[in-house]
């Protein structure tokens, strides 16, 4: 077998493994917890897949350019707080609140991009710092008790269904199609992959690498704002405890799907598979009554397995 063939086979393995994993999880869930795919639970799975997926698309873009965004959870929290405090339940103030939340989110994304691009701070340090900073700002500004209400007008975004399928999943599907198409066919997509695979070579070939990287962080932040709106719409109340877990979920969805943490490799389809897999896992664990410990254990194990598989693929092909 030639090296090219081996590489192709490995790539096929990386692509097929998540799908096989998803199949295995679905079968296991159906066997061990027969109720897991009833109508109500199925809706919950689809909703969760949508919510996780929206953040995971942004995360995927950042991972593709060789970064990581750990500030997503903070931006989600920030969005809910801004919407609640600005509107206090008044639907007419909602558009302004959404604009404000978007600006705040983009500001966080901008800081991330600035730190990573201009100061060359390692992405996980930069984005974790902004995460802590934003969380601190929220706690200080609200004294832990965000005031205000979520307007009823927002509810359809999180709580409604179209053709039986929760709205967040439609939103995710639309985003995945657009981003997926751009990545696969567009010039922008090629720039993203080139930047992630080898920033120096990309720069030499005329790609404005800093702009590509910055755009990834800004899009990730904007999608986190969208996820925040979905979440606020779903629960309908301000949640002071919100959202640290969505940081983990967004990275996990991408990694489980097989998006490389080293950048330059992965597709939105893979991320979508990862998102669905995570959502099934979550509801399966709930159905089993596994508790928080069990959920995190299983999720951690699945992530480790995914990273281990990736690493093996790269080690044998001499990359990494």
């Amino acid at each position: 077998m030639t090296a090219v063939q081996t590489a192709r086979l490995q790539r096929l393995g990386t692509r097929a493994a998540p799908l096989a994993g998803l199949g295995a999880v679905i079968v296991l869930a159906a066997v061990t917890a027969p109720g897991v795919f009833g109508t109500d639970n199925l809706r919950l799975i689809l909703f969760q897949a949508g919510l996780i997926g929206i953040t995971a698309i942004g995360q995927t873009l950042v991972l593709l350019v060789g970064g990581i965004d750990l500030s997503i959870g903070a931006v989600i929290g920030l969005t809910t707080v801004i919407v609640a405090s600005h509107t206090d339940g008044d639907g007419s103030a909602l558009p302004a609140a959404i604009v404000l939340a978007l600006l705040a989110g983009l500001a966080v994304g901008g800081v991330n991009a600035g730190l990573v691009v201009l100061r060359r701070v390692p992405p996980f340090v930069a984005t974790f710092a902004t995460f802590v900073l934003v969380q601190g700002t929220i706690t200080a500004a609200t004294r832990g008790a965000p005031s205000g209400d979520i307007p009823k007008a927002l509810a359809p975004l999180g709580a409604d269904r179209i053709a039986g399928i929760p709205v967040p999943l439609w939103v995710f599907a639309a985003l995945a199609l657009v981003v997926g198409a751009v990545l696969a066919r567009g010039a922008a997509g090629r720039r993203v992959y080139a930047t992630g695979a080898n920033p120096r070579a990309a720069a030499l070939s005329g790609i404005r690498v800093p702009w590509v990287v910055a755009a990834a962080y800004l899009i990730s932040a904007a999608l986190a704002v969208l996820a925040g709106l979905v979440d606020a719409a779903y629960v309908g109340h301000v949640d002071a405890q919100l959202s640290r877990s969505l940081n983990l979920d967004s990275v996990a969805a991408a990694v489980i799907g097989g998006v490389a943490l080293t950048g330059g490799e992965g597709t939105v389809t893979q991320t979508a598979i990862g998102s669905v897999l995570l959502a099934v896992l979550l509801v399966w664990m709930l159905e089993l009554g596994a508790g928080a410990g069990g959920q995190l254990l299983v999720e951690g194990a699945v992530i480790l397995l995914a990273v281990w598989l990736q690493r093996r693929g790269q080690a044998t092909s001499g990359g990494g």
Binding site: D40, Y234, H237, A240, R244, V255, L261, V283, A292, Q310
Partner: protein, 391 residues
Amino acid sequence: MRRIYVAAALLLALAGCSSEKEGTSTPGSGSGNTSTADKGGCTPSPEAQQAYEAPWTQGAEAFGIDKLDVTQLSICSVDTAKYKKEPTDGSYRIALAAQGPTNSWAAENEAAFQAQAKAKNAKVLYASANGDATKQVDNIQQLASQKPDAMVVVPMGPGIVGQIKAATAQGIPVVACAGQLPDNSGVVSTVTRSYDLQGKLWAEWVAKQIGGKGRIAMISGIAGVPTAEFPKAAAEKVFADKYPDIKIVSKQYDDWSPTKAKTVAASLVSKNLDAIWSDSSFTALGVYEAYTQAGKPVPPVTGDASNAFLKAVQGKDVKFALSPFPPELSSQCFDTALDIVQGKPVPNFVNVQAPAFTNADAGEYIKPECSDNLWVPATLPEAEQKALKLC
């Protein structure tokens, strides 16, 4: 290659992080027994015993429970003569090792303490733990080094016992506030609402709603946190001992987050539950939202008493029973500390009185004009409520 390991490690670290959200109610800790500095100086007190039992009686009456099995504690009156002091410059210095304003419960908890201290002309030495037991260990040490006349601790976990013992050894009397510590902690008095009371009240009400027979789920706050685990254990014991025909279909945790509560409840909708036992109104709110969205009738549900829940279910056909864990109990913690430094005898355990109520009486407690974050029945002075934008 190294980057992969770092990222994986980071993911695991984050996983740890996300399971450690602070509770609404303050995590306390302990065995459910009372703890006193020295049992020798504690004399039986019928008066204190009666005060301990009063909330049980009120709760049972409010929930229409005939036989509520009162958890027996040896309640006594602690002789505090050895802590008696004269105020320096006319005012006592009382330390508060607080949870830190990580949520509305804690914010009100601290505001009530400060307000009471101001009213009694005492100086407060304050330290915030940000909901973290490790941080609180440092806080207690640092507060003790300022030699306060007494210290009130809102315990974040049993890990702080060592520092409390050290403070006590320096002659500083310590009051455990809104949480229980193990017997050997050396605190002079514990001021809280009994966890057993909460757990049993909710359990008995649930049993009564479904005639002692049926399918229920139990949803608690944070796994391993005493404020969640003790009421849960008490309730489980009630179900196991008295109601063999009640089947607990599912036991879950929701971190006292309305979002997680709704997710958990959504996974229960299809289980044909007759009632849901829960330890907070965040959970009750999530249950209401999930069932309503699924277009199904909301099963009878329990919790503590938040304005958010009352506002959500106002005018709706929902059966519920709420037993508050009032943040304002910190003013009683302050009073107890003040009694100690004035040499007045104090009970070793103060079971905080707060009216339990059901949907039938909810109209008396709801504050439609106030914030969702308000805990009812609110006894915080109006000025403080305004300052916290609660009302």
